[in-house]
Subunit: 792 residues, 2 copies
């Protein structure tokens, strides 16, 4: 245990004492009482200013300089005087080793200063794992979802949780369950995918795992399900407006919330930045109260997104002052404010005039009570501070690194392979082969893990680049590296003259090697100021109208392809790209590795060499053309029909464009061949409810071990309102050795087959279609019909 000063010493003594005894004469210190009882008691003892203080926090306690944390005492004290509920670590390129002692110090000091002994709770995002440097750098959310491996994801979530715990983080601002609706949104890489069922499955496991209770009965890490409710704003812009419609909200966007609330009870929820039908979520009483509290049954804390309350006044202009914004947000149901820098808006409620307003008092009381419950539930009043020793033993331990390797291996998605892969070691490089590999492109020698990854893409401490993994595996002499374009942050407006030479060098490298692996992508870096600029692409704050590769990357690819060199294209980004016909046909193999974390390079090289058989599947459809969206496999029936030409001519006028392009949701290739046979559907009774049972025999008909994802989709033949042409309802990832078969059975309670109509759950009876197969593409599916009679 780290002891920094007298205050901390006192704290530690107190805490240990509390943990040992159970009853206390002061109810809020009595650990035998429930969090709700303790919160109610404590609330009754608090002054108005103490209450308002709990509505916000000090999210960025530290700064950074020269790779080390800095601390500004004046700023800190100014902030915590008025907002002191939670605290955050701040800049993510600071290192855990440096931060923990400093944070322990601040926490102890603050507790000592607190009249009633109310501790901070540390809050942090947790996307790729720990939100400061020094933890295991897991893949981004869309990468992990591409594994379609829920049990493995649970283990990864446990590792992420334990690394947070080791840093004293007991509240994460994750998971992000926004359903991808617009390929232009720069945050899609933070999301699981385009399907609400798949998102709900992953998110629920994340929440359950994070919120697991320890031996004291304390929730390990409280989670925040977010952003209620979002999927893509106007133009693909993060904070832009969204359309409304209660059926759309409940059926397209809310299912992950519904599932998570019912099955995993996330302790908090973050309202989205967007306005829905003109009403920003921060003041959207209808969606926060009627829908979220009412229809969806959420009982936890509702918090704001960063600065969202301020934006009511400064951006959407639905409040005429900071104070007006605070009062409106409180009245709508926001209970806690996330305000990264400076004075939060809820702080204005300290004005004594508000203590005289019963409505405001009641809302503040309820907000503080809900927040204190989280602190009691997570044991913040009793837990000892984390020790540096425990932190060192936890972060990046062997088990975590192994889990990271495993999920990265399963998250790479192979989209094309004409037989070029796997590469034969004996034909290349150090193993005695004669050839070399040209490793090309601006994303070949960096770590591109997303803007919630606490990693500098150019800093080798965060993992191997693809180039380095190749060099380690095959020897430096077997690899010819060329960046191919002049900048990592490609400029759209530049005349590209500097690139001409770089492209020419890349082509020469490809010709000399005889084989090219070209890594293209988008996005670079995280929230650190050094990565923020006008050339940035993808990631939060940057929507992209153009779905091609930014800058001159396509020209680089075309030049290599024009040279006739066998080429493997690797995409490394949180977004989908438009692959033109020439790219699709001329690249010999294509991968999307998304934002795969520190083992991107290792896992890709293992896969290209055949040591690992790829098993990732797309969780989002790749559009065929700029502007040719939305594309998602679960479009509505009327979205894919019409027109006066042939059926093919419709959708968008270019004949080869379709609403269901070939690189579709659920699609991904393997080195082995799977077949499915003897698909059956039946209606069965299980306890008190009916289930649809679908089974199919999966066979590995190829020569190597591999994993396949058996996917089950459905739709009622006729519906009350429009229903997607098909919806995913179950999936299972199955490993089979060559020649082996397995009967895979998937069961779905009939009650799950419904959908909301004007806020009421509706289940259609009659004919249903079920499809089972290896992707959402018609050619990969077997259709099964079943009639579901009314049980009324």
């Amino acid at each position: 245990m780290v002891v920094i000063n007298r205050a901390a010493l006192l704290l530690v003594a107190n805490v240990v004492a509390v943990v040992c005894r159970r009853h206390d004469a002061t109810p809020y210190l009595d650990t035998t009482l429930s969090p709700a009882e303790r919160a109610t008691d404590l609330l009754g003892r608090m002054t108005w200013e103490e209450k308002v203080g709990q509505l916000g926090g000090v999210r960025r306690a530290f700064g950074t300089a020269g790779g080390k944390p800095t601390f500004n005492r004046t700023t800190y004290e100014t902030t915590r005087t008025t907002q002191n509920g939670q605290i955050g670590y701040g800049p993510q390129l600071n290192w855990a080793n440096d931060l923990l002692p400093l944070m322990n110090n601040l926490r102890a000091e603050h507790l000592n200063d607190s009249r009633l002994g109310i501790p901070y709770i540390i809050v942090a995002d947790s996307v790729n794992g720990l939100w400061v440097s020094g933890g295991t750098l897991f893949p981004g959310t869309i990468s992990m979802a591409s594994s379609w491996n829920l049990p493995l994801y649970e283990q990864v979530a446990a590792a992420m949780r334990d690394e947070n715990l080791a840093m004293g983080v007991h509240w994460v601002l994750s998971p992000e369950v926004d359903v991808i609706q617009d390929p232009r949104n720069g945050r899609n890489g933070e999301m699981y995918g385009e399907d609400s069922y798949l998102v709900g499955e992953f998110a629920t496991r994340y929440i359950k795992t994070m919120q697991e209770r320890d031996e004291n009965g304390w929730v390990k890490v409280a989670t925040t399900i977010k952003h209620f409710v979002f999927g893509g704003g106007s133009g693909g812009v993060n904070r832009a407006s969204m359309f409304g419609g209660i059926n759309h909200i409940l059926n397209d966007l809310a299912p992950p919330y519904r599932k998570a609330i019912e099955e995993a009870r996330p302790l908090s929820l973050m309202a989205s930045y967007s306005s829905v039908d003109g009403v920003p979520l921060s003041i959207n009483r209808h969606l926060l109260q009627d829908v979220l509290r009412g229809t969806l049954g959420f009982e936890g804390l509702i918090m704001s997104d960063a600065n969202a309350i301020e934006y009511l006044f400064t951006e959407s202009k639905v409040a005429s002052s900071r104070e007006d914004a605070a009062v409106k947000a409180l009245a709508a149901g926001l209970e806690h404010e996330l305000h990264p820098g400076g004075r939060g808006l809820f702080s204005d409620l300290r004005d004594p005039k508000y203590e005289a307003e019963p409505d405001v008092v009641s809302l503040v009381d309820e907000s503080v009570r809900a927040f204190l419950e989280i602190k009691f539930a997570t044991g913040m009043f009793e837990r000892p501070l984390p020790s540096v020793e425990s932190m060192k033993a936890t972060l990046r331990n062997e088990r975590h690194l192994e889990l990271n390797r495993n999920i990265t291996r399963e998250s790479l998605v192979m989209l094309k392979n004409d037989g070029l892969l796997p590469l034969d070691r004996d034909e290349i490089g150090a193993g005695g082969g004669r050839g070399k590999i040209a490793v090309l492109g601006p994303y070949a020698d960096i770590i591109n893990a997303g803007n919630y990854a606490p990693a500098d893409p150019l800093d080798r401490r965060y993992g191997n680049s693809i180039r380095l993994s190749f060099e380690k595996e095959l020897g430096v002499d077997s690899i010819i590296y060329a960046q191919g374009t002049s900048t990592i942050l490609p400029s759209y407006v530049g005349d590209g003259s500097a690139d001409e030479q770089a492209i020419a060098e890349a082509v020469e490298a490809a010709k000399a090697a005889g084989l090219a692996v070209i890594v293209l992508g988008s996005g670079f870096g995280n929230f650190d100021q050094k990565f923020i600029n006008n050339e940035r692409t993808d990631t939060e704050g940057y929507a992209h109208a153009d779905l091609g590769f930014p800058g001159r990357q396509q020209q680089l690819l075309d030049a290599v392809l024009d040279a006739g060199v066998p080429t493997v294209l690797v995409m490394n980004a949180g977004q989908v790209f438009v692959l033109d016909n020439s790219t699709m046909s001329r690249c010999r193999a294509i991968f999307h590795v998304w934002l795969a974390g520190e083992y991107t390079g290792d896992a890709l090289v293992e896969t290209l060499l055949g040591d690992i058989n790829p098993s990732g599947k797309l969780t989002v459809t790749m559009p065929q053309h700029n502007g040719a969206f939305p594309v998602a496999y679960d479009l509505l029936p009327s979205d894919g029909v019409g027109g006066f030409g042939s059926a093919l001519a419709y959708d968008w006028h270019w004949p080869q464009l379709t609403r269901k392009p070939p690189l579709a949701f659920g699609f991904g290739l393997s080195y082995t061949t799977f077949s499915m046979s003897d698909a059956e559907v039946s209606l069965r009774k299980r306890q008190n409810h009916k289930v649809v049972s679908v089974s199919v025999t999966l066979t590995n008909a190829g020569n190597i071990v591999g994993k396949e994802v058996v996917q089950l989709y459905y739709r009622p033949r006729y519906t009350t309102i429009e229903f997607p042409v098909m919806k995913l309802i179950r999936f299972a990832k199955v490993e089979l050795t060559p020649g082996d078969s397995k009967r895979v059975a998937l069961e779905v309670p009939v009650r799950e087959l419904g959908y909301f109509v004007d806020g009421q759950w509706n289940i259609d009876h009659g004919e249903y279609s079920f499809w089972v197969g290896s992707s959402s593409r018609e050619e990969d599916l077997t259709l099964l019909n079943v009639t579901i009679p009314s049980f009324g």
Copy 2:
């Protein structure tokens, strides 16, 4: 009067008699009674089958072969047995001269056959005017709106009305008041523009003019306001789903309906194809009853779009059979079915079982009553059949042609002119000049007036192409024409080899002439089968993901520009195009002539030569990049903010893209220079209400006469829900001679400044911003602030 057979003779005799006497013992024949009273009486006399028959009609009475109408007696009789409320002319490339006698014959025969003497009413679209060949070919809707000249548009609408009357058309399926929301929608050329106020102004004048009463008190032509409610379906696809949200519906899409219903009372309304929030409009009781009948107060007939009821079963699958679809549509409030070919779905209601269902009977009765009211109101029971003599004297009379020339001249929008224009006659061709003009491009020698234009683009009988107008004006020897690409319907997939030669020829022509006018566009032809194919672009049934010029037109343009020849780019289409930086900077002048009808060529040539000073303004914003949409000047405040880079970097990540691109709503250039000065705003009392009065002095500071559009925009500073950054609220087109000034005053009642919040009209009090100027661009506007106090 045309008399074809005995039946018609009888009819004519009867009709004349009816017109002369006023009272009749049979109430429904008594012209002194109101249409409602007569309809009620007639309804009471009708059998169930007669009633159901009125729910549909024979929309395509004729076919076409060799340019002449054909008639299939069997098909006709089969149809009219079960659906006989209205009749349509059918194929629009048949000619009025041929059609009128045939139609008169059918009408007379049908009336003679009718037990109760219930006549047909002829229904037709009326976009470019008459919906068969032989009338004046006016510009498409977006062209006429680009004139911003409401008084002139009223005169055009009167001419269109009179040509319809001359053909016996007393019910038009226009105006289309859909507010343009998505640049990919192939029907945008049928719409007025992106602004709901402007759409409402034009539409209301169309309706008032069409529905003017004649000397007998009869409505001349009943109108159909459509499509309730639409603006752009998913992906820009016409029949695809739309999002919901009552604020969006009422504030963004419904204003033209609200204005038209209050001020012009259109007699019918067409429900849109789309589903809104999952519920197709054809069964959307909430929108048709609560919103349309309730909030918006519509009292006329609600009809289906073509085949829309069938699509409930075959496409959106919210009905399990044709009959189910018919019953659901009827129950939701559809009262009349548009079913172009074959047996309509409402015909299934003939089954006697429905006569035993009081709910169905009541709905059918109300539907028939509403429809008969239109027939009585338009005088269908009394009017004589139109004579061929009158038709010949009306169609294409001098006044109509002059109006057409005038509105075409005002509808051309000049987007760039670096001083090249106007061209000096003395420098070109036949006038004694030495130079020539190369007239280039696949749209230079056709008439491209939209798919509701009854015109074959290649048939010279429908007007001059741009090439022909040039040749007539300057002499054949002054013009070098080259098509430049091999097809009118450019192929996206073709390798373009055939075009290489054509492009080279065009470049040679440009070089030889020394000046190029290059005409690019999209769309070709109308609903005639010969124009329906997979290569078609734009127009109904064809959305376009790509907003560039279809086919190899951009390559043609680039090749001409590369050759260094001074070039005028002319766009001829119903859509916006993305003009890349190179096009914008290298073209010396740019026009969008939209779908300007038979005088496209004449008006353009007059304008290029300076005989006419252009005065058109965009009614829809031109996006800057594929995928860089929505773009409209009236975006919501939160749609244009955010991001971590500079403000410029936001929206979409390419630095030069913005939500408010320079070729914006309201923008258009003139050959003269207008200035506005001394702008003032004040709050005044007018009778019983307060008005905001804005005045500004407009001065023609240039050397030639010209017209400028004074535009007034506003927004409350703070609003209850999100409100656009600015909204158009008044405009006036003003003509000034050089050096002249005029004080232009625009008044807006305060009650008009509100918007709907959850279905309630809301007016914010407090600070307001008004902007007056020549376009929606900030640099063209003067800001005026005014405070509107609460009058409560």
